[in-house]
């Protein structure tokens, strides 16, 4: 690949520092990340390594009791971390879409799938109810959800886990975000569905950038172009997926690789 020009970079995180409000414990001391357009970056590490916090920090949705004390988050060449809450609301769901771990608990059980999608679409695009509904059906169709027009009026419990996660990806992508965040998108799914969902994500991220947070290095290896390994809030290893799989430099990365189920470590990434 040629030299990275500025406009190639979709997300640029510089010196991100996250601290606990009480006691001032440092959770992530200083973190740098760059994701190019069309690229999926895998953020892997064990539970408590700060990878999920980083992901939520990028979306400006840190849990109560955690705050960002230093660093910059630059999305599409514009700094977003110092925005007001109102501007953030336009970014969330608009420029940044997010996929959550458990698609069952990520949809309000008393609302239809469609109503959630329609609401998000109308919030960020100037659409009438009917147009938004048509868009919701379209996007569910493009997620290869069988019977998309029926799914729009379905409640979350009426869909299977895989269908729900497809709808979730549809929700994240309905406003054509520049960045797709995925927090453990396949952990709650069974293995065959995992592969389908990963393949779908890979296809859909082609014109935006993706950040996939996972402890499952096999899932990350399947679709990520580059991997970043985190341990206790710090990046310990970073590089193209192929390089990390074949020649891990750090002990912890070797342990992660050894823990992956045999035969699952194949790189099916973009190149």
């Amino acid at each position: 690949m040629s030299a990275v020009t500025h406009s190639d970079i979709a997300l640029d995180v510089k010196g991100l520092r996250l601290e606990a409000v009480e006691g001032g414990r440092v959770l992530v001391p200083s973190l740098d990340l760059q994701i190019r357009r069309g690229e999926i970056l895998g953020l892997v590490g064990e539970s408590g390594s700060g990878k999920t916090l980083t992901c939520f920090g990028i979306a400006g949705l840190l849990p109560t009791g955690v705050r960002m004390t230093a660093g910059e988050i630059i999305l599409d060449g514009q700094r977003i971390d110092n925005r007001s809450e109102k501007e953030w609301r336009a970014i969330r769901g608009g420029q940044i879409g997010m996929i959550f771990q458990d698609p069952l608990s990520s949809f309000n059980p008393v609302k239809t799938i469609g109503s959630i999608l329609i609401e998000s679409a109308r919030r960020h695009q100037n659409l009438s109810k009917a147009e938004a509904r048509a868009l919701a059906i379209d996007i569910l169709k493009s997620m290869h959800l069988p019977g998309s027009s029926a799914c729009v009026d379905a409640y979350p419990h009426q869909l299977s886990g895989g269908q729900r996660q497809r709808a979730m990806i549809g929700l994240a992508l309905i406003n054509n975000p520049a960045l797709l965040l995925a927090d453990e998108p396949t952990t709650a799914l069974d293995p065959t569905v995992q592969l389908q969902i990963l393949a779908l994500m890979r296809r859909k991220v082609s014109n935006s950038a993706g950040l996939m947070v996972t402890h499952d290095i096999a899932a990350a290896a399947a679709i990520c172009d580059r991997l970043v390994v985190m341990l206790e809030g710090q990046i310990i290893e970073e590089g193209p997926t192929r390089t990390i799989l074949s020649a891990p430099q750090h002990d912890f990365t070797r342990q992660l690789l050894a823990a992956a189920p045999i035969g699952t470590l194949t790189h099916g990434g973009g190149q």
Binding site: T64, F100, N108, V110, I116, R123
Partner: protein, 270 residues
């Protein structure tokens, strides 16, 4: 629904009480055919079932039924308004404290604990004494303002766990405003709990209003409320027991109905 099903429904007696209450509150004196304020010293302390006075008359010859029905207007109206005030303040504070955390959250929780640490009845008596003016507005405001912590506590505890739910985070992640998030994703999930709480609170407010009026600091002097009727009838307990029995029974019916409704709601929402 078939007729047999309606008759067996546990809600039938409750519905009847509700309809009677609503009718009475709308019709008022027209229902008994007497002005509840009309004094007739020639017809003092008539027993129930006297001609023209179904429930008898009090020591000033006022029609007992008319006063009882006017009292219903007072008691139910005051209890309802007080419950609405307590509900609005309590649930708003509860949701805010659960979501905001930080200084605002701590301050709201402290305020809740502070308010709750006073016996609410004693506090109501004090507030009304300070206001000096007893009337409908003062009474309902006071009752609402001293009893909201119940709602605040319950809403806080439930909303705390709701905000941890992924679907609330996912909704926030679509760029939804806080107000919309509260109204569309958090409050609806609280309805089962809150509906039960509201009904029980209403029953409690009926008792509280009666007690304050009994002490003469709730309703203004001369107003026909159940508490005041109990208080006035006390002096004639032996000669005219119906003066105390009638308002007492009326209160019991309303409170038991509210409790039954609360239990019913709790059972169907569980």
């Amino acid at each position: 629904m078939s007729l047999a099903k309606i008759i067996r429904s546990p809600l039938l007696p409750l519905g009847m009480v509700g309809v009677v209450c609503a009718l009475t509150m709308v019709l008022g004196d027209a229902l008994s055919g007497h002005d509840h304020r009309a004094i007739d010293l020639t017809a003092r302390l008539l027993p129930p079932l006297s001609p023209d006075h179904l429930l008898g008359t009090d020591e000033l010859g006022r029609d007992q039924l008319a006063r009882l029905l006017t009292g219903l207007r007072w008691s139910v109206g005051a209890a309802f308004c007080a419950t609405v005030i307590a509900f609005c303040i309590g649930s708003a504070f509860g949701i805010l404290a659960a979501h905001k955390g930080g200084i605002l959250g701590s301050a709201l929780r402290l305020l809740t604990t502070f308010t709750q640490s006073f016996p609410s009845f004693v506090m109501a008596v004090t507030v009304i004494a300070i206001l000096g003016d007893s009337g409908f507005v003062a009474l309902t405001l006071t009752l609402g303002l001293v009893t909201w912590p119940v709602f605040s506590r319950v809403v806080y505890a439930e909303a705390r766990s709701l905000f941890q739910r992924e679907y609330v985070q996912a909704a926030e992640m679509t760029g939804m405003s806080k107000m919309r998030l509260y109204l569309h994703h958090v409050l609806p999930a609280l309805i089962p709990t809150l509906s039960v709480l509201v009904v029980f609170h209403f029953a409690e407010m009926i008792v509280a209003e009666g007690a304050l009026s009994f002490l003469g600091i709730g309703a203004p002097l001369g107003a026909a409320t159940w508490g005041a009727m109990l208080s006035e009838g006390r002096g004639y307990m032996l000669e005219a027991p119906w003066l105390t029995l009638a308002p007492a029974f009326a209160m019991v019916i309303i409170i038991v109905s509210a409790h039954r409704l609360g239990q019913y709601l709790r059972n169907i929402t569980r």
